[in-house]
């Protein structure tokens, strides 16, 4: 019996999608490595400066690299959330449909 995989998308499109994927992951790890930058500037200035207690410490990313890293991370996070919610909605639709047709009731594998 001949079985032909029905392709919804062409090979080219699939390849592009996987490339995008990999690109995102690389971007992610690249920006994550920027996170560590803030430790070094803080250290060197610590050497000979006298200890003065500031009135109020307002936190913020210490350099542009860290700030960019954080913003890219937030973008990745929201993108992931959107994608995961999309998948979850698909799963919910399916599992609801199965429940309604009684797939889970007596038939147990």
């Amino acid at each position: 019996m001949k079985f032909r995989m029905k392709r919804k998308f062409s090979i080219k499109k699939k390849f592009l999608v996987w490339l995008l994927f990999l690109g995102f992951f690389f971007l992610l790890f690249f920006t994550q490595s920027q996170f560590g930058q803030e430790a070094k500037p803080a250290e060197q200035s610590k050497a000979l400066k006298p200890e003065k207690t500031p009135e109020k410490i307002i936190p913020s990313p210490s350099n542009i690299k860290e700030a960019t890293g954080i913003y890219v991370f937030l973008a990745w996070m929201w993108l992931s959330i959107i994608v995961l919610i999309y998948f979850l909605r698909l799963k919910i639709k399916e599992v609801d449909r199965l429940h309604r047709m009684g797939y889970f009731s007596e038939k147990k594998k």
Binding site: A42, P59, M77, I81, L88, K91
Partner: protein, 354 residues
């Protein structure tokens, strides 16, 4: 191979029995279903608090001299410390807000009626413990604002007759707020309260599983057949969506609106301008403020504290007071719930306005 590992553990733990139960457990679907999501959302934020709390405790030093400095160090030197602290701060507010929302939901659909009285009462304990978490955690940075807030907060129980002075001394570790108070509060925050909260959560969740999800009063009266979906995986998938959104909002807020740190508290300095407790205590704070200094021959604070304590006790025993929720009594109590909500919101708004 995955199935092999799963069945290996299942032979020993018997987890499949739990999974079977979760598959059989159903969640009713009706117009009040949205309230069902509040419980697990609270758990989500609690887990976030535990994880970020573990991390903060790695660097925090709970002594009078070092507390503020260690928090400053977390915010400036430790890599991304300010984000972790910010997440902890925001997640606390989210969790407390959700606890209030959860409470209101339960009250409005009257889920506390028989046989769920104990669930309600354990829930009230959880509310108190959660508020105590917030109260004890607020002192830990040991800056001017938190010191003053703690001084006021621990002074209020003093006006309860008979036991008041002891309660204040217990909370403060003495007559005044000192380094001992800080140690005590730290111990409460990371050790005593977590153990209690885990125990009570276990009781609360066990009761819910044993008794099943409650139906809103209206549905029960009409005895209509409500559509139900299985808890696992249908409802859990829906809960995951809620968690994802809440987590995303939490993290975004934490990054863009991190809390600041004031300078170290001075025990001898006068109270700074504009001290106020965290938002979840504002309505109580305002209630205390509107009482006059003296009523007859008792101090205003005493009367206020007593009234609030009385309200708390009635609140705790609500399932027994509202033993006929479908009757007129029940309707009055529903109205009362709305009044309380309006009161709390109005008081909070008023105290923010000043």
């Amino acid at each position: 191979m995955r199935m092999g590992i799963q069945s290996w553990f299942d032979e020993r733990f018997g987890i499949s029995a739990i999974m079977e139960f979760l598959r059989k457990k159903t969640v009713p679907q009706h117009k009040h279903t949205i309230w069902y999501y509040t419980g697990s959302s609270i758990l989500f934020f609690f887990v976030v608090q535990v994880i970020t709390g573990f991390m903060l405790a790695f660097y925090y030093k709970p002594t009078l001299e070092e507390a503020n400095k260690s928090v400053a160090r977390i915010m400036t030197e430790v890599p991304l410390g300010w984000i972790i602290r910010s997440v902890h701060f925001w997640s606390a507010s989210f969790m407390i807000a959700l606890v209030f929302i959860h409470l209101i939901g339960i009250w409005l659909v009257k889920s506390y009626r028989k046989p769920r009285e104990l669930t309600w009462m354990s829930g009230v304990f959880l509310l108190i413990v959660t508020l105590l978490f917030g109260f004890t955690g607020y002192l830990l940075p040991w800056d001017d604002l938190s010191l003053s807030a703690t001084k006021v907060g621990t002074d209020i129980p003093r006006s309860i007759p008979v036991i008041g002075a002891w309660v204040t001394q217990f909370l403060r570790g003495g007559e005044d707020v000192t380094g001992d108070t800080l140690s005590r509060f730290f111990s409460f925050h990371i050790c005593i309260l977590p153990i209690f909260v885990l125990l009570i959560i276990a009781i609360h969740i066990y009761l819910i599983q044993k008794q099943g999800m409650s139906l809103p009063l209206a549905a029960e009266i009409k005895e209509e057949k409500v559509r139900e979906i299985p808890f696992w995986p249908n409802f859990v998938y829906r809960e995951m969506i809620v968690w994802l959104i809440l987590g995303g909002v939490l993290f975004s807020l934490a990054v863009f609106f991190p809390p600041s740190l004031d300078k170290q508290a001075d025990l001898m300095a006068p109270a700074p301008q504009g001290i106020k407790p965290e938002w979840y205590f504002l309505f109580l704070f305002q209630t205390l403020k509107i009482f006059p200094a003296k009523i007859l021959f008792v101090s205003g604070v005493s009367v206020a504290a007593l009234l609030i304590a009385l309200a708390g006790i009635l609140f705790f025993f609500l399932p027994f007071i509202d033993n006929r929720p479908s009757g007129k009594k029940g309707k009055i109590l529903t109205l009362f719930a709305y009044t309380l909500i309006a009161y709390a919101v109005a008081m909070t708004a008023w105290s923010l306005w000043r």
